[in-house]
């Protein structure tokens, strides 16, 4: 059994004392920062990256993965208790989760999210383990034309189902692609768009962009609001859901996990789509649809399971094809490259211990999150009570040290401040910044494959549509755009996102 062999390799790596410790530290740090209101997973990962610098590659990856789903989990906690979605994927959790908290059922909502996430995480990891190997074999058939088309699907997918204007988001992708091209052109050795700054020869570091556009502008955005947020915390008496709650949330968790596991694999689709689908489905199949929006436990359990399952299976395209499906995954990819791991089909064969160790440790990390979060919920609640005026200088400090320590360059700090201005502008112009991040990371890869494909075809552009896999991928990309402008979907999207 190939699968069992892989599992054995993974267990051996993941269960070493060091790696267990890294997974634990990652989950703890990720949740700690993820709980802070107004700080999304992108900013969290960018901020915490320095914590992994001193580690060996396997340990660093395991810790990063822990940070990633710790941050996602912390975001749900904040969504339920403070009515503040830290990221788009918890937008739907807010709807019923916060209503439950207001009715004094915060404990049950948190438990539903935790149990659902754990179960979904297990399903997701299993999917990852089962699908990674065949997909990798498939990926070896890919030439540059296929890679180009695959990236096109990922990029288009990332915007077609997000909230907001599709055309504006596509603009943000192109903007990101262009920013990604800054630096030395590998093929010709020419420096492009560097304006005479040698600091830009290596390109703009992704941490600089992420911290500037996400963290800095999120801080300024929160400062603007000046509102006093109230955490519904004192009412948590018990975390245990009632028997009725369990009966209601179990099928929701099962449905959410299956939707999420499937949707997460699709490049670009991402977590928010998973939770959105799960929420619509729960409302449709429920015998009490009128309870939705007023604290239905299914409305928490379903979407939370879905987004956690998707969070796991989103690693499939990133790890097997080297192509991230979302901005957050793009950041994970960038982080892997810092640790000299170039994700792609070759990782599984050249570093099986790394690959399978990471997968097993993801499962262990999910277990740790449940163990960590339910008893420690009191601490997270205390953290939510820290006033923002104390919190944001701390966030800013971690960001600055994080940016500086990537290459010990103060130039990076000044650039991050510049991206802060840009991020604020995007915020004011209602331009979605996540597609820019994805485009930024994919820019160089997209150009390289585009060029190679055309070198091989001797300048014939039809290569992208005459090769069958490439054609299918491009058709998917077109279908995604068409799908996203269909009026029926638009209407349904609007319903979910405005209903509170």
């Amino acid at each position: 059994m190939e699968f069992l062999d892989h599992l054995a390799i993974g267990l051996e790596t993941a269960l070493s004392l060091h790696n267990l410790l890294y997974a634990f530290a990652g989950c703890l740090l990720g949740t700690l920062i993820g709980v802070l209101p107004g700080l999304g997973p992108l900013a969290t990962i960018a901020m915490l990256l320095p914590f992994t610098y001193g580690l060996p590659p396997v340990g660093a990856l395991i810790m990063l993965a822990g940070i990633y789903y710790g941050a996602a989990y912390g975001g749900s906690t904040t969504a339920i208790l403070v009515n503040l979605p830290g990221e788009t994927s918890s937008v739907v959790t807010v709807i019923d989760g916060h209503q439950m908290a207001r009715k004094g059922k915060a404990g049950a909502a948190l438990a539903a999210a935790a149990i659902g996430s754990f179960f979904a995480g297990c399903v997701g990891v299993l999917m990852l383990a089962l699908f990674a190997a065949p997909l990798t074999r498939f990926a070896f058939k890919f030439g540059p034309a296929e890679y180009f088309s695959l990236m096109a699907v990922g990029l288009v997918g990332a915007v077609s189902l997000a909230s907001g204007s599709v055309v504006k988001s596509i603009g943000m992708i192109v903007f990101g692609l262009l920013l990604g091209l800054v630096g030395i052109d590998v093929a010709s050795g020419v420096t492009r768009f560097t304006f005479g700054f040698p600091e830009l020869w290596e390109g703009i570091d992704f941490i600089v962009v992420a911290v500037g556009i996400f963290a800095f502008s999120e801080i300024v955005g929160s400062l603007e609001q000046r509102e006093h947020r109230k955490a519904y915390t004192s009412e948590i008496t018990t975390l245990w859901p009632t028997r009725e709650d369990i009966r209601r949330m179990t099928p929701a968790i099962l449905r959410g996990s299956s939707i999420g596991a499937f949707v997460g694999i699709l490049p670009g689709a991402g977590l928010s789509l998973a939770s959105f689908f799960a929420y619509s489905l729960e409302r449709k199949v429920s015998r009490r649809p009128d309870e939705f929006g007023h604290g239905a436990i299914e409305g928490v359990a379903g979407p939370e399971s879905a987004n956690n399952a998707a969070a796991q299976t989103a690693f499939i395209p990133t790890l097997t094809l080297g192509i991230p499906g979302s901005a957050t995954m793009a950041l994970m990819l960038g982080a892997m490259i810092i640790h000299n791991i170039q994700p792609g089909p070759q990782v599984m064969t050249s570093n099986p211990d790394l690959f399978w160790g990471l997968i097993v440790s993801m499962w262990i990390g999910n277990l740790m999150l449940v163990i960590l979060n339910l008893p420690l919920i009191g601490i997270w609640v205390q953290l939510l009570k820290v006033p923002y005026r104390v919190l944001y200088p701390a966030i800013l400090m971690f960001c600055c040290i994080g940016v500086y320590s990537v290459s010990y360059s103060t130039f990076d700090l000044f650039m991050a401040a510049g991206f802060g201005v840009l991020g604020y502008l995007f915020h004011k112009l209602a331009c979605e910044p996540a597609p820019l991040m994805l485009g930024f990371v994919l820019g160089p890869m997209l150009e390289e494959n585009f060029r190679r494909a055309l070198v091989l075809s001797d300048g014939d552009f039809s290569v992208f549509v005459t090769r069958p896999i490439s054609l299918v991928l491009l058709l998917i990309a077109v279908a995604l755009v068409v799908f996203s402008v269909l009026p029926s979907l638009k209407k349904q999207r609007a319903v979910v996102f405005t209903e509170e």
Partner: protein, 166 residues
């Protein structure tokens, strides 16, 4: 375009100022990239030079920007949150000034001074600012930074001004 002076209907109405500005941004950025890229060798499709891909991407961004502007001028009814408003440039300036100061001070003055200045300056942006609380926060965060990053993670930082370290 806040408070446009469209007294009579003859002037073209801006349905969506946010989209209009976003479109302008795209056209400007795309144009800048395209112009700069046209200065690099373009090559042919089969043998692309460094200018080829960025030039066409820049043109694409300009076209998208034009489409966004077009949509903002006519098309759908104005949405409630289409206006450009609520610019809090003060908070933005203070927060980013703190970051820039941190960058300026870090190498000559050391981590302790740089973090202290960062925290103190950034704290001013809050509407609940008080010197006493900010100073306390600065002391705690300097301690945290030193313990976590210098002793814990072993990152290379000077703690004190370079002159003192000799």
């Amino acid at each position: 375009m806040p408070g446009g002076s469209t007294s009579d209907g003859s002037e073209m109405k801006l349905r969506h100022p946010k989209d209009f500005a976003a479109g302008l941004l795209y056209v400007g950025v795309g144009g800048a990239f395209a112009v700069i890229a046209s200065g690099y060798r373009m090559g042919t499709a089969a043998r692309m030079g460094p200018g080829y891909f960025p030039f066409w991407l820049g043109v694409l961004l300009m076209l998208i920007g034009a489409a966004v502007i077009f949509g903002a001028l006519r098309g759908k009814d104005a949405e409630a949150d289409a206006k450009l408003s609520g610019w809090d440039l003060k908070s933005l300036a203070i927060v980013l000034a703190a970051v820039v100061l941190f960058g300026v001070l870090l190498q000559p003055m050391g981590l302790v001074a740089a973090v202290a200045v960062l925290v103190l300056v950034a704290s001013v942006a809050s509407h609940e600012f008080s010197w006493r609380a900010a100073a306390l926060n600065a002391v705690v965060l300097v301690g945290l930074a030193v313990v976590i990053f210098v002793y814990g993670l072993g990152l290379q930082f000077h703690l004190w001004p370079a002159l003192l370290a000799g």
